[in-house]
C-alpha cells in the first residue's frame, strides 16, 4: 500500500484491515483506507477489483447478501460500526447510499420517494416532511423540475432525474456520509454533468465516497483517489498527485489505459 502522509490527517470514516468474503472467496483483502471529512474520495479500479464490495461494506449492506462475511473494522467518528453493540439500521441512517441503477420506489410519488426514509420510519410531522422534501430536492438539483409534479409517480421521470431523486431520498435522512456506487454509469453525459455538479456542492456538508470506473470523472470531481486491484488497495492519495505522479506501476498502467 502506498500512501501520502496517511497517518497524519483525521478522517470521518476509515477502514482497518477490512476483508470481505463471499462464501470462501475473498473479495477484498485487508483494506486500510481513510475518507476525509467534507471531501470527495473516489475509488477506482478495473472490473472485479472489489470496489463495489468495499463500498457496500461501509454501510453494512454487503452482509445482507446470503453467505457474505465481513472481517476487520470500519470506524465512523471513532466507533467501529461492526461492533456488536451497534445497530446496523441506525448506522445506515448516518451513512447513505446511491446505487448504480436509479431505484426509486415504484409505488410512490416523487414526494413520497423523497421522504421515504423519514415516513417509513415514523415521521409524521407534515411541516417537517415538506421542509425536508424541498431542501433535499433542491440539494439534488431536482426541485425546479418537479416542484409542480410532486404527486406524480417517481418512475415517470427520466433516468437522470430518477437518480437525482434517489440522491434527494438519501439526503432527506440527513446522513453524514454519502456513498455512491457508480451513480452515473447508467446515465447520459448531460445527466452525468448535473449530478457531478451537485456532488461538488454536496461535499460542503457531507463526506462523499464515490466508486467509479470512469477515470476522467474521478479526476474531475474527487479530492482523494484510491486505486484498487484484485481486492487489494494499490494506491491512495490526493487526486492530482495520484494522476500526475502515481507511485505504483500498476496505477500508472491503469491510468494510461494499458488495461481496463
Amino acid at each position: 500500500m502506498i500512501h501520502e502522509n496517511f497517518e497524519a490527517f483525521p478522517a470521518k470514516l476509515e477502514t482497518r484491515n477490512l476483508t470481505a468474503l463471499y462464501g470462501k472467496v475473498e473479495e477484498i483483502n485487508r483494506i486500510n483506507l481513510k475518507f476525509p471529512e467534507n471531501r470527495v474520495t473516489a475509488i477506482m479500479g478495473p472490473s472485479g477489483c472489489g470496489k463495489s464490495t468495499l463500498i457496500r461494506c461501509l454501510n453494512r449492506i454487503h452482509e445482507l447478501t446470503p453467505r457474505a462475511k465481513v472481517q476487520g473494522e470500519v470506524i465512523l467518528d471513532g466507533v467501529d460500526i461492526y461492533s456488536s453493540k451497534i445497530d446496523p439500521v441506525a448506522i445506515r441512517r448516518r451513512i447513505g447510499m446511491v446505487f448504480q441503477k436509479p431505484n426509486p420506489f415504484p409505488t410512490m410519488s416523487i414526494y413520497d420517494n423523497a421522504v421515504a426514509g423519514l415516513k417509513l420510519n415514523g415521521v409524521r410531522d407534515k411541516k417537517r416532511l415538506n421542509e425536508l422534501a424541498e431542501r433535499s430536492l433542491r440539494m439534488a438539483f431536482l426541485w425546479d423540475e418537479v416542484k409542480n409534479d410532486l404527486k406524480k409517480a417517481g418512475t415517470n421521470l427520466s433516468g437522470g432525474q430518477q437518480q437525482r431523486l434517489c440522491i434527494a431520498r438519501t439526503l432527506a435522512v440527513q446522513p453524514e456520509v454519502i456513498l455512491m456506487d457508480e451513480p452515473c454509469s447508467a446515465l447520459d453525459p448531460i445527466a452525468t454533468a448535473k449530478i457531478e455538479e451537485s456532488i461538488a456542492m454536496l461535499k460542503k456538508n457531507f463526506t462523499i465516497v464515490i466508486v467509479t470506473h470512469n477515470m476522467q470523472q474521478a479526476a474531475r470531481i474527487s479530492d482523494y483517489t484510491a486505486f484498487m486491484y484484485l481486492g487489494k488497495l494499490e494506491e491512495f492519495g490526493e487526486t492530482a498527485k495520484v494522476f500526475e505522479a502515481p507511485k505504483s506501476e500498476l496505477t500508472e498502467k491503469y491510468i494510461t489505459g494499458k488495461f481496463g
Binding site: 453493540k85 451497534i86 445497530d87 439500521v89 441506525a90
Partner: protein, 308 residues
C-alpha cells in the same frame, strides 16, 4: 434504540416463519390423522388390503384393488387422450404463433378458462349430457365393431371408466398445457436457431430439437396432470358409474378411490369407516409420490423464473 428496532424484526421473522411451519404441520397432521384413522383396518387386513377385491360393508370384508384399478385406469385414459392434445396446443402457441402473439394469448386464456370450470359442473355436464353422447356415438359403435377386443367388449354404459377418463382428460388439459408452454418457452432460442440454420423445417425443428430438449419438463407436465387426475373427485364420481368391479372393459361402470370416499363415508362407522380412511391414505400416498416426482422434474423449469 437498537433493541427497539431489532424487536420489530424478530417478531416479524417469527411470524412469517410460523406461517411456513404451519404448512409443514398441516401436511404432517394430515398424514398422522390418516394413519391413526386407518389403524383398525390396517391391523385387520394388513397388506392384503391392497390386493383385496371384495368390498362388502355387510360382511365387513374390505379390499382396495378395484378402486386403485379404477383410479389408475381412468387416469391413464385421461393422460393418453390429454397429453398429446396438451403438447399439441403448447407447441402451437409457443412455436407456431410467434408472429401472432394476440391469438396465442387469447388461446392461452381459453385453455385457462377450462381450468376455472368447477369440477362439479364438469360432473353435471358429463352425467346429463356427455355420457349418453359418448355411449351412443363412441362406445356402442366401437363395441359393435371391435367388441372382441377386451378393451371394447362387454356392455357399454353411459357412466363408465371411459367416460370418466375422457372427462378427466378435458379437465387436466389446461394444467398440462400451461406447464408445457412454460417448458417450451424455457428452451433457449439458440437451440432452434441452430437447427433452422441447418435447413430444417418447422416440424423438424420442433421434433428434433425443441421437444427433446424439453423432454424432462414435458414429462413433469405429464406427471402433474396425472396428479390432478388421480385426486379428482366430483366429476369422476358423477360419471364413473360407482360399481365395484375390476374389468378390462373400458365401457363398463367402475369406481375410483376418491369416489368411494365421497359416496360411502357418510354412513360408515367402526371398521367400515377405518377402511375408507385407509383408502384415503392410499390416495394420499399416490398423490404425494406423484406430486413430489412432478415437482422434482419441474424444479429446473421453475428455477428460471426466480429472483433477478
Amino acid at each position: 434504540m437498537a433493541s427497539k428496532l431489532l424487536r420489530g424484526d424478530t417478531i416479524a421473522t417469527i411470524g412469517f416463519a410460523a406461517a411456513a411451519l404451519f404448512i409443514i404441520g398441516l401436511l404432517t397432521a394430515l398424514a398422522v390423522e390418516l394413519f391413526s384413522g386407518s389403524a383398525t383396518s390396517i391391523s385387520k387386513f394388513g397388506i392384503g388390503f391392497l390386493s383385496g377385491t371384495t368390498w362388502n360393508p355387510d360382511h365387513e370384508v374390505f379390499g382396495a384393488l378395484p378402486f386403485i384399478y379404477g383410479t389408475l385406469l381412468t387416469s391413464a385414459i385421461a393422460i393418453v387422450i390429454g397429453l398429446p392434445i396438451s403438447i399439441g396446443i403448447a407447441v402451437f402457441i409457443s412455436e407456431r404463433l410467434n408472429g401472432h402473439l394476440g391469438i396465442g394469448y387469447g388461446l392461452g386464456t381459453l385453455v385457462d378458462l377450462l381450468a376455472a370450470v368447477p369440477s362439479v359442473i364438469y360432473g353435471l355436464w358429463g352425467l346429463l349430457i356427455f355420457a349418453p353422447l359418448l355411449r351412443d356415438y363412441v362406445e356402442i359403435p366401437l363395441n359393435k365393431s371391435l367388441g372382441f377386443f377386451p378393451l371394447f367388449g362387454g356392455t357399454p354404459y353411459a357412466t363408465s371408466f371411459f367416460t370418466a377418463g375422457v372427462v378427466l382428460a378435458i379437465m387436466i388439459i389446461p394444467t398440462m398445457t400451461a406447464v408445457s408452454r412454460d417448458v417450451l418457452r424455457a428452451v433457449p432460442n439458440s437451440q432452434r436457431e441452430a437447427m433452422y440454420s441447418l435447413g430444417a423445417t418447422d416440424w423438424e425443428v420442433t421434433q428434433k430439437s425443441v421437444l427433446p430438449y424439453a423432454r424432462s419438463g414435458i414429462f413433469g407436465a405429464f406427471i402433474l396432470g396425472l396428479g390432478r387426475a388421480v385426486g379428482e373427485t366430483m366429476a369422476v364420481t358423477m360419471v364413473i358409474g360407482n360399481a365395484v368391479r375390476i374389468s378390462p372393459n373400458l365401457f363398463t361402470a367402475g369406481y375410483s378411490l376418491s369416489s368411494l370416499i365421497a359416496n360411502e363415508f357418510g354412513e360408515a362407522t367402526g371398521l367400515y369407516r377405518s377402511s375408507i380412511i385407509e383408502i384415503a391414505l392410499i390416495l394420499f400416498f399416490i398423490a404425494l409420490i406423484v406430486n413430489i416426482f412432478a415437482r422434482l422434474l419441474l424444479w429446473r423449469v421453475s428455477r428460471g423464473k426466480t429472483r433477478n
